[in-house]
C-alpha cells in the first residue's frame, strides 16, 4: 500500500464521522443507562454542549510543559490509533493511513496517549494523579496480557499481521468470524477489553469518590476538552481493532456503527452488573481467568 495525497482528506472524513459517532454513542449509552433506571437521562447532544463549554472557558492554568502536552499526547494517541487501522473493509477511501504499519503498530500505539497523559498528569504534582496512574499501570499490565495472547493466536491462525488480511480472511459469512473459528482467543480478548474500558469492575483508576477521578484530576478547560474529544474517538478506535480482528470487520458504515455499538455494550452490561475490583484483585482476576484462556488459544492455534 502506498501513500497518496487523497488519503489525507479521506482520513479526515473518517475522523469526522468517528468523532461525531463517538460523541453520540457516549450520550446514547448514558441514556440507555438512564432509561434502565427509569430516568430520562442526558440529551443526546449533551457531549457537544460539554465540549463547547470546556473549549469556551476563558481561563486555564498550566503546571508546566509536560502538563500542557499531556492532553496533546492523549488525543494524538486516539487519532493515530484510529487512522492506523482501516475502518471499512474493502473501501480504499476508509482504509485510512494503514499503509504505515500493521496490527503491531496499532497495539503499541495504544500506549502513546496513555504514557503522555500519565506524564502530563504527573507534572500536575497532585498525589491523586500519581496514585491513579500507579493503579492504572498496574492494572494494564495484567489486562493487556490476554489481548496480546489473543492477538498472537489470531496472527498464528491467519499467518499474517496485516489487519486487512485478517478481515478478509473472515469474510463469507458469520461463521467465518474469528469469534467462531477461534472462540478461546476472542474470549480472552473480550475479557481484556473489559479491563481497558474504564468501566466497573475495573474503574478503580478513576475512582471519583476516593481519588477524585485520578489522573485527570487537575485537567480542565481546553485540556479537558481535548481529552473529551479523545474520549469520543479512542474507545471507538479500540473497538475497531477488536471488530476487525474478531468480528469480521465492517464493510459499510451502518454495519460499522452497529458492531461498534454492540461491542461497546458488552462492557456496559458487565459494568452495571458488577461492583468495583481493587487493583490487586483485578490483576489476579486477569491472571487467573483471562490469561489461561489466552494460553490455551495459543496452544490450540
Amino acid at each position: 500500500m502506498q501513500f497518496e495525497w487523497i488519503k489525507i482528506p479521506y482520513a479526515l472524513l473518517t475522523l469526522f464521522i468517528v468523532v461525531n459517532y463517538g460523541m453520540l454513542l457516549g450520550a446514547f449509552i448514558q441514556k440507555i443507562g438512564a432509561r434502565v433506571g427509569r430516568r430520562r437521562g442526558v440529551p443526546i447532544w449533551q457531549n457537544y454542549a460539554d465540549l463547547v463549554k470546556n473549549f469556551g472557558l476563558r481561563t486555564s492554568i498550566t503546571h508546566g510543559v509536560m502538563f500542557y502536552l499531556g492532553p496533546v499526547f492523549r488525543l494524538t494517541g486516539g487519532i493515530g490509533l484510529l487512522l492506523f487501522v482501516p475502518t471499512i473493509y474493502g473501501s480504499e477511501m476508509f482504509s485510512n493511513l494503514s499503509f504505515a504499519g500493521d496490527l503491531i503498530l496499532a497495539l503499541y500505539f495504544v500506549f502513546f496517549g496513555t504514557l503522555g497523559m500519565a506524564l502530563g498528569a504527573g507534572e500536575s504534582g497532585h498525589p491523586h494523579a500519581a496514585i491513579g496512574i500507579s493503579r492504572g499501570l498496574s492494572q494494564v499490565t495484567a489486562a493487556e496480557l490476554p489481548l496480546a495472547l489473543a492477538v498472537f493466536s489470531v496472527a498464528l491462525q491467519y499467518q499474517t499481521l496485516s489487519i486487512t488480511d485478517i478481515v478478509s480472511a473472515q469474510q463469507g459469512g458469520v461463521l467465518h468470524w474469528t469469534l467462531f473459528t477461534n472462540p478461546l482467543a476472542v474470549a480472552a480478548a473480550m475479557l481484556s477489553f473489559l479491563g481497558s474500558m474504564m468501566r466497573p469492575p475495573f474503574d478503580v483508576v478513576l475512582a471519583p469518590q476516593e481519588i477524585p477521578i485520578g489522573p485527570p484530576t487537575e485537567y480542565h478547560s481546553s485540556y479537558l476538552a481535548l481529552m473529551q474529544t479523545n474520549r469520543a474517538i479512542f474507545p471507538v478506535a479500540k473497538i475497531v481493532v477488536y471488530m476487525n480482528l474478531f468480528f469480521g470487520g465492517a464493510a459499510s458504515w451502518p454495519v460499522f456503527f452497529l458492531k461498534v455499538f454492540l461491542i461497546y455494550m458488552v462492557s456496559v452490561f458487565v459494568g452495571v452488573a458488577f461492583p468495583r475490583f481493587r487493583v490487586e484483585q483485578s490483576i489476579r482476576w486477569f491472571l487467573v481467568w483471562a490469561v489461561p484462556l489466552g494460553i490455551l488459544s495459543i496452544l490450540l492455534a
Partner: protein
C-alpha cells in the same frame, strides 16, 4: 501562620544554604483578571448557551442543605436531563452550590474551591442561611451574608428548599447565563480587594495566597 508555611533556611545538596519562603515559592501570586468573552457576539452567545446546558456542580456540601442535593441525581428528579452533573474536582466544575450555613472555617475552604474553578463560574446560595444567616443569625461562627465573600449569582430560599426549588433555581441560572448576566467571576476580579477585605475580616488566620489558582 503554621510552621510549615514559615520562611526557613535549607541546605542544598551542594552544601549551600538558601531561604525557602513557602508562600512565595509554592504558590502563584498572580491576581485574577477580568476575562472578556469572545469578540464576536454570536460566538459568545453560543458559548453561553453551551455553558447553560452544561452545568457541572462541584460536589461540595457545606451544611445541611447538601442533603437536598443528593435527590437531584435520583430517577425522581433526574437533573442530568437539564445538563447538570457533578464533578469531584473544582478544576472541572463551574457551579459552586453553597448548600446551607457556612461557618468561618468552611468559608475558607469554599473560597479556595471557588478560586480554583475556571472563569466563567457560578455561585448559587442555597437556603436562608446563605442569605441572612437564617436560624444562625446570631451565631458567633457562621457568616450571615454570602455575597459579602463570594459573588453569588442566585439565591434559592427556603429552610430547606426542596429539590424542585433547586431545579427551578438552576433553570433561572441558565436564563441568566444565556443572557450573559452570570459574570460573577469577573465581578470577583473587579472587586477583588473588596472581597478579600471582607474575607480577611472574618478569617483571622489567613494562611493562603490571596488568590488560589
Amino acid at each position: 501562620m503554621k510552621p510549615e508555611l514559615m520562611k526557613r533556611m535549607v541546605k542544598g545538596p551542594d552544601g549551600v544554604e538558601f531561604e525557602v519562603e513557602p508562600m512565595r515559592d509554592y504558590y502563584c501570586d498572580a491576581p485574577p483578571t477580568v476575562q472578556h468573552g469572545a469578540y464576536i457576539k454570536i460566538v459568545e452567545d453560543f458559548f453561553n448557551w453551551a455553558r447553560s446546558q452544561s452545568l457541572w456542580i462541584l460536589g461540595f456540601g457545606t451544611g445541611c442543605g447538601a442533603i437536598e442535593m443528593r435527590p437531584l441525581m435520583t430517577p425522581r428528579f433526574d437533573a442530568y436531563r437539564y445538563g447538570i452533573q457533578w464533578r469531584p474536582t473544582p478544576r472541572q466544575a463551574n457551579l459552586l452550590v453553597i448548600s446551607g450555613y457556612l461557618s468561618v472555617k468552611t468559608l475558607k475552604r469554599a473560597i479556595r474551591a471557588y478560586e480554583q474553578m475556571q472563569n466563567p463560574k457560578y455561585v448559587v446560595g442555597l437556603g436562608s442561611c446563605t442569605i441572612n444567616g437564617g436560624m444562625y443569625w446570631d451565631s458567633y461562627n457562621t457568616i450571615k451574608c454570602l455575597d459579602q465573600y463570594l459573588p453569588v449569582d442566585l439565591y434559592i430560599t427556603g429552610c430547606m428548599p426542596r429539590p424542585e426549588a433547586l431545579l427551578a433555581g438552576f433553570e433561572d441560572l441558565k436564563k441568566l447565563i444565556r443572557a450573559g448576566q452570570a459574570e460573577g467571576a469577573n465581578q470577583y476580579a473587579e472587586r477583588f480587594d473588596w472581597y478579600k477585605a471582607n474575607q480577611k475580616q472574618v478569617i483571622h488566620d489567613w494562611d493562603m495566597p490571596d488568590y488560589n489558582w
